[in-house]
Each structure stands twice: as structure tokens, then as C-alpha cells.
Symmetry: D2
Subunit: 291 residues, 4 copies
């Protein structure tokens, strides 16, 4: 993360000769100073005509002679010529992160510490929980807390409320910080690539409930956690980040839960940071992560 | 691994008060000098009466006033009293390891280097392969090489020959060092806890064929390898050791195969060493590994 | 960590035949149920007569027919016979941890989250800081906060006050959770093996100030953190736990500081846990850690 | 590593606006198809006018309408305009790697296995050793073996012979695969950035002799290995790659030596590969490694 204000162009397009030249030529024609560039050519699968090209460029804001809006207007013809999916974001515009949490504190404390220290350069307009336990902690930080109980009979109403709050606070990202409820498909579909979950296993192993029990029963020698985008397909969304930790026969399920927390919060924080810095580009059901 | 000659007692029995006192009392009554002790109480599953106790003790051979045979005879009543499954091995008796290999060299070279440098204190009476490619390399090391081709029509005969050779050379352990054939169930059943495989995925993810292709398609951020005992249930035997390595979107399947080799050979060597030093005790379909 | 109440015997003594038999015989004679045992023989250095033997045994409290005090009284003759340094602690007696912090929040938030969730089974009678920034956060948790400013002219008085508070609250352990002051030698000497620090480098590399700048200048490919006991010899006390994280040329010092925080808090929490569970035994200027 | 033949341009130059545009514009003007691009801006240190820009570009050979020689000729004016240090290499031209070894086999076996399987796309014109032990093994692979004994009295002559052989076989890289001699400064100076060593510690910890003994005495919880370019300043050359492995109090120096070998061979192989693929660019006494 650079200290100067910068714009981040992230884009993908069909691969062909001259993409980098076209884009970097555009930038340099306006005396744009590039801070960081990452490029990737994903080869064509069998049966496809061409591969796909991915890029992420950070340009120092004060090096360009015009505004962000004008940058977008001027770049649009280039993007259209290259058939790009693209966006340009501004490091000065903090993303608005809505955190959903249940009764475990490790991810919540971890995210708030990173927000407090400005390690995560975000706004947290509110925390939503199906329990009321963290109200005091959250409000002490000056953050709004919404208790939205979820019960078998009220799910539709509950998730309508979650969505209403998310819209009301103009949320950019919804983070499930060990939120122990399954979001309904329509909510997942409403915000593609904008809902991030931390799953407490090294996916695709141990999908579904009680992954540490599954891991214990299987006798694996490492356990892990997976940060992924939420889709309507439970625990199957594009993986952003994963990590593991070594265990052995002396570790009970309780021990694994405890170790797992350390992995969960670290993996969630890393995955979220990649997302916030526009380092994650969708590539089918996979991700390109320009770390 | 200690330099002095020592005996290794490895045992498990129903948990109760006084097991350690009984065994260590026996050893100290004969002035046995303990080099290393590892103990583990596995708690009872629901519905079981008692947990199970596991132990591994190394005793300096020259501290005992009798032979290995006599040690076994004298310990037998203690073991029976405690309802133990047990054995005592001698660090001076090299285990006889038969290596099965196909066409990939990384595990074979790695094991022979460890044997050559005496890091693995074993005998390798022969290498068996379904291809003839490594004959020269193996024979140069003074090790017999058996080419046992496996074809759709001759499987029964081929594995009868593998078994005949293994028996003839009095093999203790069969190591599948990226042997790309599936052993028939009757062979697996014949040598429980004596056939070790290296699987090129972080099991239970990606069982079966082409795990790196599966991992690539899933977009995982780490790939791994698993060393496990072979049972009649493909890729489901007790896991001895696992490890992983980080990959990213720039890595093709070929790159993953290449990275994977480094993990495979290391994990296989570690798992095999644990087995050879009698550090691995069976516990249902899991293992206790006293590292 | 077992759920039942248990006593932990940790001890070391000159190595000889029969130590385990003597201790486990004592326990089993009283029908003591052993939950966990770890043993280690440290070989003699050249010029020493004998090696040293280390042990840690957890005994279920309700399996013994007497109190903790009586256990200690009865064990004392055994310990004297074996020339042991020893202690017995009670899992029901929470240790009192005093946290010292400066202006960085990551370790403080992390420790309070673990305390809040009862992952760390401790009492935190107070937090001491040379700055006033975390008063509100700490007090919100119902924990006393002491602001003890440290300035060039008042160091003796400041550390006298730290010591007074630590004594007043009957602290067992002092944790320097990124406390950016150097404790005076007399304070270090007063509490041997009771002051735990987290140093932001993989010691012995990069002792002293600004280790991340040193690491950046050297171009290392991994950075780390070290949890160690504080002695009068700066950054040289016995190491309890360490870990590292991969960096590369794209990482600035700021990035390294940020990555480092994740390692620091994890390593500190692990090291502290080992200490709290009496898993760390001194062995010269090194530690035996029975994980 | 791509399967198609490609040219690799690696370069660095003072940072300014338009570098990427200039270089990618040149490539696209000739219809060059870019397979892989990595770019890095190293910020200016205090007191310096400008930062430095580093790049590595792989261009498919068959996409360009001219030869490698012509590519170089045409690119030269661009490079001069940008004040570049630069080179272009051809994936079809195998680099010639001369291996120096003493009496430990792990790195030698490992490198020959990688060469044998074509994982490393190199030629090994000869192996040089100060001992004669690996002659048979090396020659069996069809590789020349030079025994060049090194004794206190003959060092100058010995290293003159090493240099003569290296020149005679037109070596590109000299790899010290646990070569237990210190190269004389004049040899180091003669081949800057072309001699690669594997040091058996996590530098800068434990420079000099017997690093595992030093690590054992210090009681560190992880040990490591470092692959670096050799300079006249012992163990201080630019670091290419490092890794570590966890140890604990049960590990003797012998165990550490054994674990260390696994790290050493992996780290050496990774560092060598980065070098061979022109992924390592010098940046003062540090390296930029475009993995």
C-alpha cells in the first residue's frame, strides 16, 4: 500500500498482441506515474479461442492532469477497443465494510484492531449480528450495531433486514466474520463478488458443518481455513486465500478449534485486504490475486 | 535417532491407572537406561468404556543385563497384564525396504541419496518397477532391479510376482515411491501397516487420478502431498504425514506438478522415517506419530 | 488443555536410571490418573557428568485422595531424593497476567480477545502503559489501566511504579505486548522467567532497534518474531517460540511492519500459552517446551 | 516455464514516466506475443534522485519476425534511451551449470534428479569436487568428474584449476552444492552474479562455520538455509532464496543437520531455477526475484 493517493485500474480482456502497450501508452501519454503493475495471461482452455489477459495498475493521482472522472471517460474508448471488463478506484475513497458476526469474537476483534490502527483503510458503517453479545464492544468503538435475530420462522424477514441495512449504509463489501448462518441464495446473487466469507477448513476438504470434527475424524496432519466469495453454492465460491497449521495426535477437537481461530482471522484479513485493494479479479470460479 | 544401540518398545493398551508406573518400573528394575519416552492417552469415543494408551520407549541396549529375546520374554507378562498390543525392535537390525517405482525419479533419487548417506539406516534389497527405465541407475548402486510390467491382462500375475519378490527378499516395508498403479485389495490386505504410499494431494481433497488438475480447476491456493498406509480402500488409508506448498494464479498444472515433487519426496521421506523408527502406532483409521 | 481440573507437575533433575519409575510409581500408588506426560533427557555437554531430565505430568485432580497441599507434601521426599527442581500447579488457579503496552494495538486486542473468549484461562488484573491511548478500550473490558509515563529523567521512578503495581495486583507474569521501552536490569533480575517479551525479528538476527529496517536492508526473504523471557541481557533471553512469514522485493518496510504484526501476536500468544500451562522449563539459556 | 520457445528480456533502469509504454510499445510494434511480464519500481533511498525500475518480459519467439540477434540490435536504441542494464536470453539455449561438491550427497543427487527429469532445462558439463567420492555416481550419468583436491598448501593452484575447467567447459553458472571450501576472493570477483552457494543457516544468523551447532546453542525454534550469490565477503552476498523448518528441544545437532538437508536442497534448487530463468535481478546487495 503506497502512501500517496493513487488510482487503481483493474481489468481483464481477451488476450491479444499489444494490450500492455495500448494501456501503458495511454497512461504515459498523460504523464501518468505508475507505482505498481501486475499482469497475467491466463491460457485458453481447450476449445476456447483465446486466453484472457488480466491487469492491475496503480497510477499516482497527482501525476495525471485530470480528475478520476475524466480518467474514466478518457480510458473508456481504450477499454472498449480491448473489450475489457474494467474499473478504476481511488485510494482516497475508503470502502465501506459491513461485518456480520455471530458469537465468536476472534475475527471481529482482529478486524476492529486493524481498522483502529488504520492498517485497513476502511469505514465500518455497522456490524450486524444474529446475537446481541457484541453490542457494547462494537458501540464502544463508535460503530453502529444491528441485532438481527435469525430463527427458523423468520429467515426471509431477517435477510431482508440485513439487505436493507447494507443498502442504507451504502455498503461496498459484506464480511462474514464467522457468521454462523447460511445466507439465502437471493442475497448471494444480489452481491456477486461483494460478500466475503471465512470458512474454517482447507476447502474443498470438509465442506459444511463442523469441519474440525471432520478433520479430527479423518486424522489429517494439518488443518486450514479458506477465505472465499460467497455464491449461492454453499462453500463453493471462488477462493481468495487459504492457509494451514500443523496439528498432531495430541490435539483434541477443542485444540483444533483454538488453533483454527489463528488461521481464520489471518486468512480473512489477508483475503479482505486483497479485495479492498482491488487485487482480486474473477476468472470463472477462480480468482487471480495480484498480491 | 540416537547413536548408541537401543531397543524400541512401542505399545498400546486400554487406559487405566498405573500403566507408566508398571512399564517404567519394569525397565528400571533391570537398570534400563531410557533414552526417549513418548506417551499419549487417546480419550474414549462416546459409547466406549475406556480410552486407549499409547507409548514408545527407547532403552539403551547396553544398559540391560540380557538379550533382546530375553527382554521380550520378561516383558511379556507385563504386556499381558496390561492387555497390550506391543513389539520391541532393535536399532541394530536394519529394516528391509522394497521400493516400487514407475517413471518419475524424484522420490527414487531422494530415497537412494538418504540410503547412501546412511541418513536412512535401512537395507534396500531391491527396487521393483513396472517400467525398465531406472534399471541402470538402481543397479549402479548395487541394488537389484526387478522389471514387473503391469498390463490390463496380466495384473494378477504381475502382483503375484511383486509379492513373491517381496517375500523372497524378506521385505519389511513396501514403499510406493510414485508407483502409478493401484495395488489389488488382496495385496493391501496381506501387509497391513507395511505398505506406504505417497499421494500427490492434500488428502482428503482430490482423491483418485490427476489431483493437480483437480487442484488447478478448483483454484486452491496451496497444494500438498500425503504419506499414508495403503489399505484396500483407495487413498483412504491412515495418514502418516502431510505437507503443503503455496501456489498462485501464475502456476500452471505443470508448475504444480513440479512444486508438488518437492513436497512429495519430503513428505514420503518423513513418513517413512517415522515408520522405520517405530514412531507410528495405529489408532483405528488414524495414526499416533511420536515424532 | 483438558476440561477436567488437573494438577501439573513440572520438574527437572540430574538424569539417572529410574526417574520415570519413581515418579509414576508415586502417582499410581495414590491412584492418580495421568492425563498427559512429556519427558525429555537432555544429554550432557562435554565436561559434564550427567545429562538432565525434564518432565511434565498432568494428573486429574479428582483421582487423587488428597489436596494439592498434601500432594506437594507427599511428593517432596521423592523430589529431594531425585534432586529435583520442581513445582505443582493447579489448573483451577488462574494465573494473573499483567500486560505492558505502548501505542500499537495488535497484541493488546489479540490478548484481550483470547481472554474474553476464555481461550486464555487467566486473570488480567491490569494493563500498564507508558501512553494513555488505550485507557478507554481497556477499561471498557472492566480491566484497570495504569498510565506510567517513561521519560529520560524519570526511569527509576517509573519502573519502581511498574513494580509496585505488579506486586500490588499479585501478578504472576508480566507480558511486554510490544512495550517499546527497555526494562532496567534490576527489574529483569527481580522476576526471572516471569517477564515475557515479543521481539519483532527472528532472533538472533536483527537485535536492537528497528529490526524490520534491518531486515529490509539485508534483503532477507522471510521475516519473523520471537517470544522470549526477558533477562538483563537485551534480546538475549531464553527463546520460547518463533515463527516467520515470507516477504519479497515488493514489500516496503511498512508492509513488513504490517505482516510482522500478524506473526508477533500469534507467536506471543503461543509462547504465553506454553508458559501459562507450565510447558516451558528452563535449560540454561534455552527452553524445553513440552507442547 | 512455458513450453513454447521464448525470449526473456530482463532489465533495470532509472525510474521515469513511460518505461513500460516504451518497451511494450516496441514489442507490440513487432507483433511480439508476451507470455509473462513482471515489473517493479524500487523507491529511491534518501538522498537519491530517482528510484530504479526493474522488468522481466517473456516474448514468444515465433511471434517475432526476426532472430534473437536482430531483436537485440533493434532493442538497443530503446535500452540506451532508457539507460538500461539489460539482456535478452533464449529459452532454447540451455545454460551450462558446473556443480562443485564435497562429501555430502543430498544437493548433488537432488540436482541430478532434476536434470535427469528435465525439470531443470540445463547442461551439466562437469562436476568438480575436492574429494573423489562421487566420481562413479557422476560418471554413471554421463557427466565428467574433476577431482581437484584442496589442501592448505595448494589453494592457489587448486582454484586456478577450478577456473580453468569452468572456462574450458564454457560454464555459465557455478553452483556450490555444499562445497565445504571458501572460494578465494579473486575467483568470486571474476564471476559476479554467476556463483551460487547454499548456506546452511537462515542468514544473517549464524555466519561462518558449524551453523547448526550455533543454532543449537542459541536454542532457536526454527532453522533455515539461504541460497545466495557468492561475493568476496563471506556469507554476505545477495540473498536469492531462504526457507526454514521447525525444530524443538528433542532435536540434537545431528537431527538438525538431517532436517537442514531437506531445506538446503529445496532452497538451492529454487534459487538456482530463479537464476536460470533470469528471474533474479541485482539491486545493490539485494535481489529482485520475479517468481
Amino acid at each position: 500500500m503506497h502512501r500517496e493517493r493513487f488510482y487503481t485500474l483493474s481489468a481483464s480482456c481477451p488476450d491479444r498482441v499489444g494490450i500492455v502497450a495500448r494501456v501503458s501508452g495511454f497512461i504515459s501519454a498523460h504523464q501518468g506515474w505508475i507505482l505498481e503493475t501486475a499482469l497475467h495471461a491466463e491460457q485458453a482452455d481447450e476449445g476456447e479461442d483465446a486466453g484472457r489477459y488480466f491487469m492491475r495498475v496503480e497510477i499516482r493521482a497527482d501525476s495525471l492532469p485530470f480528475t478520476l472522472e475524466e480518467l474514466r471517460d478518457r480510458f473508456r474508448p481504450v477499454a472498449e477497443e480491448l473489450e475489457m471488463e474494467w474499473k478504476v478506484t481511488d485510494s482516497a475513497a475508503k470502502k465501506r465494510v459491513v461485518i456480520l458476526v455471530s458469537q465468536q469474537e476472534h475475527c471481529l476483534y482482529d478486524l476492529l484492531a486493524r481498522w483502529q490502527s488504520r492498517e485497513l483503510n476502511i469505514e465500518i458503517p455497522c456490524v450486524i449480528s444474529n446475537h446481541d453479545v457484541f453490542r457494547g464492544f462494537v458501540e464502544w468503538h463508535g460503530i453502529r450495531f444491528h441485532h438481527v435475530p435469525v430463527a427458523p420462522g423468520n429467515k426471509a424477514a431477517a435477510y431482508a433486514e440485513v439487505r436493507r441495512v447494507f443498502e442504507e449504509v451504502r455498503g461496498d463489501v459484506m464480511v462474514l466474520a464467522r457468521y454462523m448462518q447460511i445466507l439465502p441464495p437471493e442475497l448471494c446473487v444480489a452481491y456477486p463478488g461483494r460478500i466475503i466469507n471465512i470458512h474454517h477448513s482447507f476447502l474443498p476438504s470438509f465442506v459444511g458443518a463442523r469441519p474440525y470434527h471432520q478433520a479430527w475424524a479423518k486424522g489429517v496432519k494439518l488443518i486450514g481455513a479458506t477465505c472465499h466469495y460467497v455464491t449461492a453454492d454453499l462453500d463453493q465460491g471462488p477462493i481468495i486465500e487459504q492457509d494451514v497449521i500443523r496439528i498432531d495426535h495430541t490435539d483434541t477437537v477443542d485444540d483444533m478449534v483454538r488453533y483454527g481461530k489463528d488461521i481464520e482471522k489471518t486468512v480473512l484479513a489477508r483475503g479482505l485486504r486483497y479485495h479492498l485493494e482491488d487485487r482480486v479479479l474473477a476468472c470463472g470460479n477462480k480468482t487471480i490475486v495480484f498480491r
